[in-house]
Structure formats: C-alpha cells, structure tokens
C-alpha cells in the first residue's frame, strides 16, 4: 500500500522530499521575488505572507485546528481519518483534515511553511525536521515529550530533537532497512545467517554456485542504492561519521568514504547484473521467485509478497541485520525512515495542537495506523503488537536493538544534494565500480558548491 513515503509508492518516486533547498540566508524580502519569473514565483508569492522566524513560544489557544496530511492514498488516508476522528471524539476538539497529494506536499513544503501552514502537519524525522525547526518555522513540542517520552527509545527521541535540544516532532510510523531473504530458500540449501562481512561474501559465493543471484539490485530510480551506501558507511565508519558526512562536514574524498566504496565494489560481483535498468519491484520479484537469494531493502519490499502464493510468500519472507564489518561499530546502527508530525510555529491554538500530537504519539493512534498498513510499524514501545505480522514484530525488535537510527540518505542530507548529486553518482559507481576516485572527486566538488551557500 502506498504510504506517505514516496519510497513506497509503486509508480514513481521523487527522491528527496521538499524544496528545503539552497540558500540558508535570512528570509528577507520574500516579496521582492522577481516578477518576471512568473511560474515559479507565483506559488511562492501567493504564500509569501506571514512572518518568518516564529520562535518557540506558540499561542496556547484551544480552538479548532487544521491538520495537514500528505496521505493521499486511499488506505492510509482512511487510517489518518480514523486517528483524527478518534481524537475528536475523545477530546471534543475540532480538527479539520487538509489532505494534499504527497509528492506535491513535499515539493511545496518550504513555501507552505512560510505561508499559512496547518497547525499540525505531516513530516519526517531527523535532518529534515531540524531544517525547519532551526529556522523557527516549527513549534516546540517538548511538553508533549514530557508526557510521551517514556514510550519511545532514545533513538526516536534524538530523531525528534533539533539543534537547540528541544523536540519538534512526534513520530507515528517507521520501517527498517535490512537484508531480506526467503526462509524456505535458506532452509533448503542449508544457508546460515551471516554475521560478518566474510560470512556474507562466502554465502554469496555459495549462492552463486547454487545458481542463485546472491544480492538483488534494482536501482533504476536511483534511490534504492542509497540504502546500501548508508548501511556500509554506518558499519564501517559509524553513525557519527555518517551523519556529519551527510551534513557536508566531512570530505567525500576521505579514506573513510573510499573504504566504503571499496568494500561495496568487492561485493559488486555478487549483485544482480543490470541493476540500473531494473526497478525495485522487479528486483523484489526475483526474490519472490527464489531466483535471488538476498536483498538489501526496506520493509516495503513486503508489498510485493502480499497475496503471493496464497499468502504463504509473505510468511516466508524474513530479514537479518546487515552483518558487522568494523568491530568498533558492530551492528549498532540502522536505517529506519520515520514519518510523523510537527506543529506550526504560527498556530493560534497550540493547546489543541499539542493535545493532538500527544494523541498521535500514543500507542492507540499508532495501532490504528499500523493495522491499515502492514509494511510499517509503530515507534512507541507500548504499542499492542499482538496483531502484528511476524515481520512487523521482528522489525520492532531490530530497531529496538539499534543504538542509532538513521533516516535514509535523502532524508539525512540536503534534498538538492541527494537528488542532483548522489543519485547520478551512485548510478555512475554501479555502472563502473572501478571509477571510485573520479566519482568521489565529482561528489566532493559538487558538495562544496551546494553546501557553501
């Protein structure tokens, strides 16, 4: 089921949400947009009313509020409506839902927040959240976290915390990235789950001997390979290096990054050939048909298994942690893109908004949501998991064990860098893994151009 995250929508993918783009300069003179740039500035100009830096002191009114949702697909849309309806019934507050197509929503988020945003709006955790919080466009919801904080792991709290140490985000769902495989294939061939890189490679060799494609690869849309880069970088150099690299603070030509690509290049012979012409759904079909042994992917891969083989395929699908490479970091980090909500800094009714956020961060709300979509799980520790599928249960465990949770490359860095630099560069690497030095040189040059506003 296509959920808010474009990574889950089957037909197309807009790699890096929103126009958080260039120029971190102070938002002065938004009205002075060039009149001639008709199409582009029209949208910005229309929404360019209202002040800039709001600060964290929002008005605490308790009147009616509006809720901005990017869940435009039928199933999650209904789930969100059910969440809001439950809140309205329990609290007696008035909430109106404003649903926008999720690609449009993400593309316009910047001008949306500068204009007349809804009081509570959908967004992503981590870098993306901080980008707005640091500009004063989001309201401080630390008081909500005082109430819900005990129900979340430190990793989730960290991904909701901005530079000033306060929380600006409430998570509602996430899904982990891991190495997916079919239990029956591993049982038939007597494969063991690899826990080190060497075991992973020798398992790949064994699979090749058995006529299987060891590791599925479908990077036609450019973003799936980001998942492999993320996990290799976190395994080899650790979470802290990964985040500062993506924040533009480390050099892409450093030995650390070269090491990541070297390690990746050594695995290339075991990856599915022609990965740049295959989308992830086709790649998933290979795993489903037992032609491919493993796939590094998000839990959304389970969408391709739902309903196949009379429901047995989904039960046969399983995953394991990407094996450790560097003992210093073990398997302490994971990619788990998290969706959730933020509060506008301009809201008049912060009271109602915080009540709603508190509800949305509760186990009750998350259960409503995860019942509708089986490829996501709820982040609160007290969610009733008895109705979860085996995969959902395991996902909770996996993320619970992780010390650090990254979002995903295109959510952990500037969107212009992710889409216009990283996608072509990772594809160039897959095309010619020997060309690492040139590719990294290009990335670094472009990074400097983009990050030094």
């Amino acid at each position: 089921m296509a959920q808010s995250n474009p990574r889950k929508s089957g037909y197309s993918f807009a790699p890096s949400p929103s126009s958080l783009g260039a120029g971190l300069s102070v938002p002065v003179g938004r009205r002075s947009v060039l009149g001639g740039a008709v199409g582009l500035s029209a949208m910005a100009a229309l929404t360019a009313c209202g002040g800039g830096g709001g600060g964290s002191d929002v008005k605490e009114g308790t009147g009616a509020i509006s809720f901005g949702s990017n869940q435009s697909d039928a199933v999650p849309k209904a789930a969100y409506k059910k969440m809001i309806d439950t809140f309205k019934k329990d609290s007696g507050s008035k909430v109106s839902i404003n649903t926008v197509d999720h690609n449009t929503y993400q593309e316009q988020i910047n001008s949306y927040l500068q204009g007349e945003p809804d009081d509570v709006f959908s967004w992503f955790a981590g870098y993306r959240m901080r980008f707005f919080a640091d500009q004063g466009l989001a309201g401080d919801v630390s008081s909500v976290w005082d109430n819900i904080g005990d129900d979340f792991s430190e990793a989730f709290k960290a991904s909701a915390t901005a530079t000033d140490g306060k929380q600006y985000f409430v998570p509602v769902s996430y899904y982990p990235w891991a190495v997916f495989y079919r239990k029956s294939v591993f049982a038939d061939k007597g494969y063991d789950i690899p826990t080190t890189l060497d075991e992973y490679i020798s398992l790949s060799k064994e699979m090749q001997k058995d006529g299987l494609t060891p590791i599925g690869l479908g990077d036609k849309d450019g973003w799936p390979a980001m998942g492999t880069f993320d996990i290799l970088n976190m395994r080899i150099n650790g979470y802290d290096f990964h985040t500062s690299l993506l924040a533009g603070e480390e050099s892409w030509e450093s030995d650390e990054v070269k090491d990541v690509f070297d390690t990746w290049a050594k695995q290339m012979p075991y990856h599915q050939k022609g990965g740049l012409g295959r989308d992830w759904q086709e790649m998933a079909q290979g795993l489903l048909q037992k032609k491919t042994g493993m796939a590094v992917f998000g839990m959304s891969i389970s969408q391709q298994f739902q309903g196949a083989e009379g429901g047995e395929a989904l039960e046969d699908l399983d995953f394991f942690k990407f094996p450790k490479i560097n003992d210093e970091h073990g398997t302490d980090s994971i990619d788990a893109p998290t969706d959730g909500f933020m509060m506008s800094a301009k809201t008049e009714n912060g009271g109602t908004a915080k009540d709603l956020l508190e509800f949305l961060g509760s186990a009750e709300a998350e259960q409503i949501n995860t019942e509708a979509d089986k490829s996501i799980v709820g982040p609160a520790t007290n969610v009733d998991t008895s109705n979860y599928t085996a995969l959902q249960k395991k996902a909770v465990e996996l993320v619970g064990e992780a010390k650090h949770t990254a979002q995903f490359l295109d959510r952990d860095t500037r969107p212009d860098f992710a889409s216009t630099v990283m996608i072509p560069s990772l594809q160039a690497f897959i095309k010619d893994p020997k060309d690492i030095n040139n590719i990294l040189k290009d990335i670094e040059a472009q990074k400097k151009a983009i990050f030094t506003a």
Binding site: A14, P15, S16, S18, S19, L20, G21, A22, G23, L24, S25, V26, P27, V28, G29, R30, S32, L34, G36, A37, V38, G39, L40, S41, M43, A44, A48, N103, Q106, E107, N110, S111, Q114, K220, D221, G222, K273, G274, G275, L276, G277, R278, E282, Q285, G286, P415, D416, S419, T420, I423, P424, Q427, A428, K431, D442, A445, Q446, A449, I450, A453
Partner: protein, 303 residues
C-alpha cells in the same frame, strides 16, 4: 522557388498608403494584444530565466547574485551536463535523419492507394495520439530485462534500459516510433494536395518513379518540409517525458530538459543553477530560430 526570385528586382517601389485612424486602432489592437501576450508569457519568463541564472535562489529565501558561477559549475563539476548536451544532439539527428525520412517514405507508400491504406494509416498514426509519457510506459514494458516482451520472445537477456551504452538508442526507437507517424501524416496531407497533372506530365516526359518524386513532387512539398523541419527540431529539443518516465533521465538518458526539471522543480530547488541550464537550451533553440527567421526574411525581402 526560383521563378519568384528572378522576377523580384523588377518590382518598383510602391507608395506607402496612409491608414485611417480606425485602421490604426484596429492595427494597434490586433498587433498590440498578441505582442503583449507574447512578451508577458514568453519573453518575460525567458528573460527572467536569464536573470535567475546569475543568482543562487531556492525559491523562497533571498536571492544571492553569483555572477557566472552557475555556468562555470555546470561546465566543470556537473557530470550530467555534457552527456545531456550530446544526447540532445543525437536525439535531434536521429529524428531528423532517420525518423523523418522514414515518415516520408511511409507517406509516399500509403499515398499510392494500396489496399487497406486506411488501416495502415491508423496503425502508424496511433502512437501519435498517445502522450510520450504513455509511450515511455509502453516501451518500458517491452524493454524490461526480466519481464519485458522483447527479452521474453527472443530469449535474450539484454538490459535495454539499464545499460547506458544502449538505452539511449532503445529510447530513440520508442521516440521515433511516435515521430514517424506524426511526420507521415503531415506528408500524407501534403501529398494529397499535389496536383495529379504534374505527376502525369512528369510521366509523359519519361521520368521514372524516382525522378518524378525527387524532382517534381518533393519540391512542391516545400511548405510541408518547413513544417516538418520545425516540428522535428521542436521534438528534438523538448524531448522529456519519455526519459522521465523511464528513469527520471539518469544513467545514460540525461537530456537538458530533464536536468532543468530535476534542479528546479520540486525538491531540489536549485533555481539559479537550473535556470543556467535552461539558458543553455534557450541559446540552442535561438540558433535554430534565428536561422529559420533569417531564411524566411531573406526570401520575403527578395520577393
């Protein structure tokens, strides 16, 4: 046509007729209104892009003038740029030198009133009715490596869309598939308008089929040729939808139009940088436009 140019110098300078005030009002309105629309919606944004290309702007916060920096980065550290330029040139050449002659060829064949000509016409014209986005989708189904029709039927295992050495050509087949039908219908209309008597006259003079076509019929198609040329150039430069559907215009399918979109629209919001690419495309278009206008005015002046 040579006859007109020969008689041209003989024309005496005519006296300019004076316009009545009503004429002037009508003329002002009829020329002024379209001129304003063109200025506001075509040249305004075009010049706006030129201006933006010298700035760094994310669409919301303040603009920052950066001089030629965008152009410099484009040419030096933006790897997709030069491939995109080449791909646009190749695209244009293939449409002009392969697809267009093929369309003309089909038109000539179908003009011969062969049996079932309408059926053939419909078949060849059908792709033109489809949007390029849909054409892209259809051919994706044909080209897919694991599940595509072509590999299934031939037993081959070619990575048509993912191998950057061949995917441009694979996509050009798809784009040509549509372009041929378009050109065919334009020429067919032109051929229907050719006077039968000149063909008969050519036949009586002993011209064979080939001669009759290239020396008699084809020259009379000149107005159509101009339209076809313009259409082909436009299709070559604006190519976008089909590669965007296939892989968002990456990995061997880079085109200028896609780079503009990827940089400006939506999430990236590198508006200044994207505008610089747009200006490059504008300059290329201007070369064609100016050549065309110079040709046209030369003839009018000579008349």
């Amino acid at each position: 046509m040579t006859t007109t140019t020969q008689s041209a110098p003989a024309a005496p300078p005519r006296k300019v007729r004076r316009y009545s005030s009503t004429d002037r009002v009508v003329l002002t309105l009829m020329l002024g209104a379209p001129a304003l629309v063109v200025l506001a919606f075509i040249w305004g944004p075009a010049l706006g892009s030129v201006f933006l290309s010298f700035t760094r702007w994310n669409g919301v916060t303040a603009m920052e003038p950066v001089g030629f920096q965008n152009y410099q980065q484009l040419a030096t550290i933006y790897p997709p740029f030069w491939p995109a330029m080449w791909h646009n040139v190749i695209w244009l050449l293939v449409l002009a030198l392969v697809a267009t002659p093929l369309g003309l060829f089909l038109a000539v064949l179908l003009d011969k009133n062969i049996k079932g000509t309408r059926v053939y016409q419909s078949i060849f014209y059908l792709p033109v009715v489809l949007s390029l986005a849909l054409v892209g989708f259809i051919w994706t189904l044909l080209y897919s490596q694991d599940q595509g029709l072509i590999n299934q039927l031939t037993g081959a295992n070619v990575n048509w869309l993912g191998n950057s050495d061949i995917n441009l050509w694979a996509v050009l087949v798809a784009a040509s598939w549509r372009h041929v039908g378009y050109i065919m219908i334009l020429y067919l209309a032109g051929l229907k308008g050719v006077d039968v008597s000149i063909k008969e006259a050519a036949a009586i003079d002993g011209a064979n089929q080939r001669q009759a076509f290239f020396q008699v019929v084809f020259p009379t198609l000149k107005p159509i040729n101009v339209i076809v040329l313009v259409v082909t150039v436009i299709e070559g430069l604006r190519a976008f939808d089909i590669v965007y559907i296939i892989n968002k215009g990456t990995n061997g399918l880079e085109l200028l139009s896609v780079l503009i979109t990827n940089n400006i629209i939506g999430e990236a919001s590198r508006i200044g940088f994207g505008s610089a690419i747009a200006v490059v495309l504008l300059v290329i278009s201007l070369v064609f436009i100016i050549t065309y206008l110079v040709q046209t005015f030369k003839k009018e002046g000579a008349r």
